[in-house]
Symmetry: C2
Subunit: 352 residues, 2 copies
């Protein structure tokens, strides 16, 4: 490996001069500069990024600490970061091995977390005696770290409201909710839905909440194979789709008279739609479905899924932007918001 020292020797100058020439900083004789640059090229010189980082105390690298990469949503978030960070000369890498200890050994300037739950875990596990500039993508869920980590929020509460409004405007009254959690879990989509359907469903409300989880379904054997979930530190979470499928069965069994359904995310919607059709329902004639996410798998179904987009790409972009502001010591807002929008598909029936 050729170093600046080698070039200096060849050029008959000192390393400082070589550094200044190559970095375009400080005074260097024009001719010498040219010669140095020429030599560097000729000798195939490549700056050692590690040495630079050690001296500068910054790496120009940011890590996105995210598992569940099979979920296109996260990829879209990453894509947004990547583009924005690039503009500022930063690189963003994905690190999917969720070993929090390992994060301390990473050569990066900052850390971006994909949701508030992970942020909470992170703070609990390593937050005490370790700190690196951190930004978190959030979804409006109630968490306690609110004041510790700057966030970029794509509000799932609002998203649920949007979905509800859209369905109501299309004449739907009885709207069920499909979730991967128990009825009692504090989740913002559930809050939004509950407050809006309370009057409609009254005491029956819980029936219209399809909570696909061990707690929610008790000993239902069909849910038991989702138990593997907690088992491995890193796993392909392929269960949203399956949970959606199971949701369809439960929907039938409960003989729900809902004309529409909102799902936790698009993946669950896809699973639900596949199974509900097999069970003899037609989408959207018998049941309308609205997902939340806005990922491109929406297109996979026979009818393109109607979804509330959480705008993952913009969220990612804003995360990167905020991170870079922090690293540059610039002013930044503690909380920023990402606008949402309905992406109309073909899974909602117009009742009016």
């Amino acid at each position: 490996m050729v170093t600046r020292k080698d070039i200096a020797q060849m050029a008959g100058v000192s390393v400082s001069v070589v550094s200044r020439a190559l970095n375009n900083s400080g005074y260097v004789n024009k001719d010498k500069k040219k010669e140095i640059i020429r030599l560097a090229k000729e000798m195939g010189y490549q700056a050692n990024p590690i040495a630079i980082s050690l001296a500068n105390k910054r790496t120009k690298q940011i890590v996105f600490y995210c598992k569940e990469l099979e979920n296109a949503f996260n990829i879209m978030v990453y894509e947004g970061m990547l583009e924005t960070a690039k503009k500022y000369g930063y690189m963003v890498m994905i690190q999917a091995d969720l070993d929090f200890e390992k994060i301390k050994t990473m050569m990066v300037d900052g850390l971006i977390l994909p949701n508030e739950f992970l942020a909470q875990m992170y703070l609990d596990q390593v937050g005490r005696n370790y700190s690196i500039p951190t930004v978190c993508a959030t979804y409006g869920n109630p968490v306690s770290f609110s004041r510790c980590i700057p966030v970029v929020e794509s509000n799932a509460w609002e998203a649920t409201n949007l979905a509800m409004n859209y369905l109501k405007n299309n004449g739907h009254e009885k709207i069920a909710l499909l979730m991967p959690y128990d009825y009692n879990v504090r989740e913002v989509r559930a809050y939004a839905w509950k407050s809006l359907v309370q009057y409609t469903f009254g005491d029956n409300i819980e029936k219209y909440y399809l909570g696909i989880s061990k707690e929610g379904l008790g000993n239902d054997p069909r849910v038991m194979h989702f138990l593997h979930e907690q088992s491995s530190n890193y796993r392909i979470d392929d269960s949203f789709f399956e949970k959606g499928e199971l949701g369809a069965h439960i929907f039938c069994e409960r003989k729900l008279d809902a004309t529409a359904l909102i799902t936790f995310n698009d993946e669950m919607a896809l699973g639900f739609i596949k199974s509900i059709k097999k069970l003899g329902y037609s989408v959207p004639n018998d049941i309308s479905v609205v997902g939340i996410d806005g990922i491109f798998s929406r297109r996979y179904t026979d009818q393109i899924l109607t979804s509330v987009s959480l705008n993952p790409k913009e969220q990612g972009a804003k995360c990167a932007e905020k991170m870079i502001k922090i690293l540059n010591g610039e002013k930044y807002k503690y909380v920023s918001h990402v606008p949402l929008k309905i992406i109309e598909g073909e899974t909602v029936k117009k009742m009016n």
Copy 2:
């Protein structure tokens, strides 16, 4: 930031002793060692990975240089790497910004490339005057770098043969091929298919090759919007699905009497199936479909897709393993192979 020097001062020893204690190397007085470790914890010491890397001349990091992350196949490859590398104390990160120059500024020990085409581009663009241990996942395509980069091959030629055999065993004779390339492009699936159907189709062979590309379809306006493809350095390649959809239309227009179709990958199969059903065909009654990949989106369609799995996870694992052998200076095979297998789904009709 507290350093080993600080700890040394506190403990009244030299940095070497601290280093030896913390690294568990060389002789250190037992009591002093304990005290040092205690102090380190108490003072919240965190080793600086950059300094360690500079001194050791290795980072214990590997980069997987891969765009098209929205394609679950690549994610599965990554997942395999991740797990294997972890066992050996290595981290694998994804870098999706395909700026080859940037690769030189990365603080990693090795580079894994996702396919032979990218490897070719890499060698052409930066291979001359830069070199870092590199491993490439390949698919049996004819490329010229064979001697420069160790590869882990999941052979798509074999996969195509497997698919053909499977279809033949199920009584299919006329088997079409759906590809994202022109008929004349050198691609290994096409080779395999051509040699097996030549006798069946004779001069008509080209009709049964559905090549969804600008060159293949000439001025067909429906293919024109795929032209954006070359435009950006990083892009979400969402076009396989759409190309599959277009493939269905062309299939109808050509009034093909094929009873089965093999597709370049699973994504294309999903697109094809969605559209061919809209055009009034039933899958698998009117047309059987076999994909190549074995990704989990297979499940999204009403009938689970039958596919030849290229075993992405194992391929990724082997890539990581080979890389680590190289880095450790151990012996390794230049070419390794990944076993393939048919994953039966519901998209192939038994004709016999």
